[in-house]
């Protein structure tokens, strides 16, 4: 035994010797190496069960069971039993943890014939390092496999085209992405090189790039290509030379379709252009200023808007261009940008190249924090024209307001249906109401509804939009007055129908119009007189031509005879008498003319009360002799009216001439009777002179009866002066004379005056 014991102690493997006692394997011996490996000594191990010496790791059990089973198997079968890999962690007392351990275990049955005792030699080999390395390798393999798998997927899935070419440019490998881009089947591609896909314009350029890559330098470029189906596209190509040790065997390439990108780049470029155009060519002036108002950038529009080129602004301060009166305010407003991102600066005056002040409105945006701008962006607009027109509007509004407030006419704004919306002070004065009262009572309270011109005026306004009329208006106290109104319908800015009413009190004008009418009336009378005077002048020329010329011609003829001829004395006396009588005739005419001219002077005599009876009495006295001698009777009837107020000499002359006319043309052998009657009827005063004289055929000679020097009878000397005088005087007094006459039946002269001409 001691011999075996020696061998056992020195075995090159850690060994334990188990003895089965009471069906339990107990450690009977442990060799030196085992003690070394387990850091235990033999005494501690001896007589113990394995689990007592090596507490099992609770987290990875089954190791103990496998050992016990292997011991049992070896003992039972009397054959060695081996466990190739056994995980059995060792407890570390110091750290109170388990150290992972893998073992190769072999249980060998040993028979001690002498004692008839059977032992199990337990040989263990620590294979932890081997196992762990193997595990690591397995893990790596799995990972690698996974990576390869993923990589393949990526290559297949990427939309970019991946490809490799040989030195001749023929395709060696490619992914699905490339097939999609090329729009050509995989099998076809393997038979081709890249050239058919190059656009004609870029073929040379692409070839150059390929050659450069083959030459050993990486290439990245954009070029136009055409797909297998003829689609035009822009590809971004990266070419990397494929090196096999030191020689370049081909090219690895990536093709990226950037057609869309290009399109969007173009779009971006265009929109940039648009923006640029806006900045450069718009009517707005765009500037970028620093916080102190110094220009960093000014758009090209400054040339067209202000006549100042953009470069002349750079480095200058905006405020220096401003009107001194506006400067302070604008600086203050501008400083607001420290707290606000955007401000609107009220219009200010800005000097242009000509030194004129232009009104400018500016919106300023603080973009100092935007690295792309780094300043305050100002959008300015020249609103001078706008300001001027606004001023004009304001002025005109001011004018209208002033007109409204100060007009002497009443001005009201109404709704066409009659509601008053506004009334000026003159309207208030005119209608004795406050504006408030006027607004509440409306048009109907100030107009006279009984005035028929009102509806007519409103009708015209409705039809034509405007009307002017004279209407009766009513004050608050109910008194009425004449007014002239001008009214027009217009639309207010909101499109509502409104009407303006401008009313003028024309009471005074009406009075003066009345006066004017009277003046006109008197003017008309004067005109009539002038016409009469003109008629008189015609008569005058007639008188000169005939009634003066006739006696003159006679005298001329007579004197010739007296000088040249030797007539008898009697004859000569006779001729001289003729000369004398013609001279007297001439004198009479001249006197008559004087009398006519005198009429005008008499007319200006003051009017006075005249009694018809008195006049007749005077005439009877002056004609006493002939009335007595010829037994002529004058019968008067002035019961209706005996007294008038007029020009005395005229009335006298009218009565005298008419009476004398009746006497002159009385019927021989008949007692003459002259009837004079006055009548007053409907404001008309009539004087009727009726005789029983010769009468005239008035139907034939009516117009001539009153003409100067007209006679209708041969036996009576006379020149018709009387009736001419009567007619002239009647007309000068504003009356009319008419005659009714029949041969041998007498004449009736009727004189009519309107009552107005004779104030009693």
């Amino acid at each position: 035994m001691s011999c075996y014991k020696n061998i056992f102690e020195n075995l090159p493997f850690p060994c334990l010797l188990f003895e089965k006692k009471n069906d339990v394997f107990i450690i009977s011996e442990a060799n030196t190496l085992y003690c070394e490996v387990t850091n235990l000594n033999g005494k501690e191990l001896k007589g113990k069960m394995i689990e007592e010496v090596f507490p099992e790791n609770p987290s990875s059990s089954s190791g103990l069971e496998r050992i016990l089973k292997s011991l049992e198997t070896a003992y039972k079968n009397q054959k060695p039993h081996k466990i190739k890999i056994l995980k059995y962690d060792l407890y570390n007392e110091q750290n109170d943890n388990y150290i992972q351990k893998y073992w190769e275990v072999e249980n060998i049955p040993i028979n001690d014939d002498a004692k008839d005792t059977r032992y199990i030699l337990n040989v263990v080999k620590d294979i932890t390092a081997q196992i762990l390395e193997k595990d690591r390798c397995n893990m790596l393999q799995v990972k690698l496999d996974d990576k390869i798998k993923k990589h393949d997927q990526i290559i297949e899935k990427v939309t970019d085209g991946l490809f490799s070419l040989d030195r001749e440019g023929s395709f060696v490998s490619l992914n699905k992405g490339f097939i999609d881009i090329a729009e050509t089947s995989e099998s076809d591609l393997y038979k081709m090189n890249f050239l058919p896909f190059c656009s004609e314009d870029h073929r040379e350029k692409i070839l150059k790039k390929f050659n450069a890559a083959i030459g050993g330098t990486n290439q990245t470029f954009e070029a136009d290509f055409i797909s297998g189906k003829g689609k035009k596209m822009v590809l971004e190509i990266s070419l990397v030379p494929l090196r096999n040790s030191k020689t370049i065997t081909g090219i690895y390439g990536i093709a990226k379709d950037i057609t869309r990108l290009k399109e969007s780049e173009v779009a971006v470029y265009r929109s940039e252009r648009k923006f640029k155009a806006l900045v450069q060519e718009g009517s707005d002036l765009i500037g970028i200023l620093d916080l102190n108002g110094k220009y960093k950038f000014v758009s090209e529009t400054s040339s067209s808007v202000l006549g100042i080129s953009p470069k002349d602004f750079i480095g200058k301060t905006a405020f220096d261009f401003m009107h001194p009166e506006d400067q302070e305010r604008v600086i203050e407003e501008f400083s607001g940008l420290e707290f606000k991102n955007q401000i609107q600066i009220d219009p200010f005056r800005f000097k242009n190249a000509k030194g004129e002040w232009r009104w400018v409105q500016t919106k300023a945006t603080n973009l100092t924090n935007d690295p792309a701008v780094g300043g305050i962006v100002t959008n300015s607009r020249d609103i001078t024209d706008q300001i001027i027109s606004q001023k004009a509007i304001k002025e005109s509004e001011e004018r209208y307001r002033s007109f409204f407030e100060n007009s002497l006419d009443a001005v009201m704004v109404t709704i066409p249906d009659g509601k008053i919306l506004a009334a000026n002070p003159s309207a208030c004065r005119m209608f004795q109401m406050s504006e408030k009262e006027l607004c509440s009572v409306g048009r109907s309270a100030v107009t006279d509804s009984g005035d028929p011109r009102l509806t007519a005026a409103l009708d015209i306004r409705r039809q034509t939009g405007t009307t002017s009329a004279e209407l009766t208006f009513v004050r608050k106290d109910g008194t009425k007055f004449p007014g002239e109104i001008t009214s027009s319908i217009f639309k207010d800015p909101d499109g509502n129908s409104r009407s303006s009413m401008i009313i003028r009190d024309i009471t005074k004008r009406k009075i003066s119009e009345k006066e004017l009418l009277e003046v006109n009336e008197s003017l008309r009378t004067n005109t009539k007189e002038l016409i009469r005077a003109n008629k008189g002048l015609e008569q005058f020329s007639f008188i000169i031509s005939h009634n003066l010329r006739a006696p003159v011609a006679n005298i001329l003829g007579l004197t010739q005879l007296l000088i040249e001829e030797s007539y008898s004395n009697d004859m000569k006396i006779n001729l001289r008498k003729e000369v004398e009588s013609n001279a007297q005739r001439m004198d009479k005419v001249i006197k008559d003319l004087n009398q006519i001219l005198q009429l005008k002077q008499d007319f200006s005599e003051a009017k006075q009360a005249i009694n018809f009876n008195e006049i007749v009495q005077f005439i009877e006295i002056s004609l006493h002799d002939i009335l007595e001698r010829e037994n002529i009777k004058i019968v008067t009837n002035f019961e209706e009216i005996n007294q008038v107020r007029s020009v005395r000499s005229f009335i006298y002359s009218i009565f005298y001439n008419l009476i004398f006319n009746s006497i002159k043309y009385r019927q021989p052998g008949v007692d003459a009777e002259i009837k004079i009657t006055s009548k007053k009827e409907n404001g008309i005063i009539s004087l009727i002179f009726q005789d029983n004289g010769l009468g005239m055929d008035s139907s034939i000679k009516k117009d001539d009866i009153f003409s100067l020097y007209k006679r209708f009878h041969h036996h009576i000397e006379g020149k018709g002066m009387g009736l001419f005088m009567v007619k002239t005087q009647v007309e000068m007094l504003g009356g009319k004379i008419n005659v009714l006459s029949k041969v041998n039946c007498g004449s009736t002269f009727i004189i009519k005056f309107s009552n107005k001409k004779f104030k009693l």
Binding site: S545, A553, G557, L558, L561, E578, N582
Partner: protein
Amino acid sequence: MINGVQHYLVVDDDSTSNLLCKLIIQKFDAKAIVASYLRPEEALEYIIEKYSKTNKSIPTILFLDVNMPTMTGFEFLDRFLKFNTEIQQQFTVYILSSSMEDFSSERKKYPSIADFLSKPLMVSHLKEIHHQKINVF
């Protein structure tokens, strides 16, 4: 000019004028026969009476005034021109007026008027009338 006697008829309401006419005519032609009327109505009656009953033509020069009270010279002519032509043909009508009026419209209206003379009648007027008559015939 039968028997070499020239007849004259003067119609004028102015008696002086009539006297003058008679004296001047007689001075020009002592054998002349002058009839004068103050009233035109009477003159017309005289014409009808004297100039229509005879078979012989009585060449007569008529001096007619314009402004007369009951009938103007032209109204006289209106009636005269209604007489038969045998009567009318015996007259040569002259208007003799003191008026300085322009009778141009009447001149057109009455072409039968030989001439318009202005008063007073002179021997020279008669000489010219006589001269014209000779030229006409």
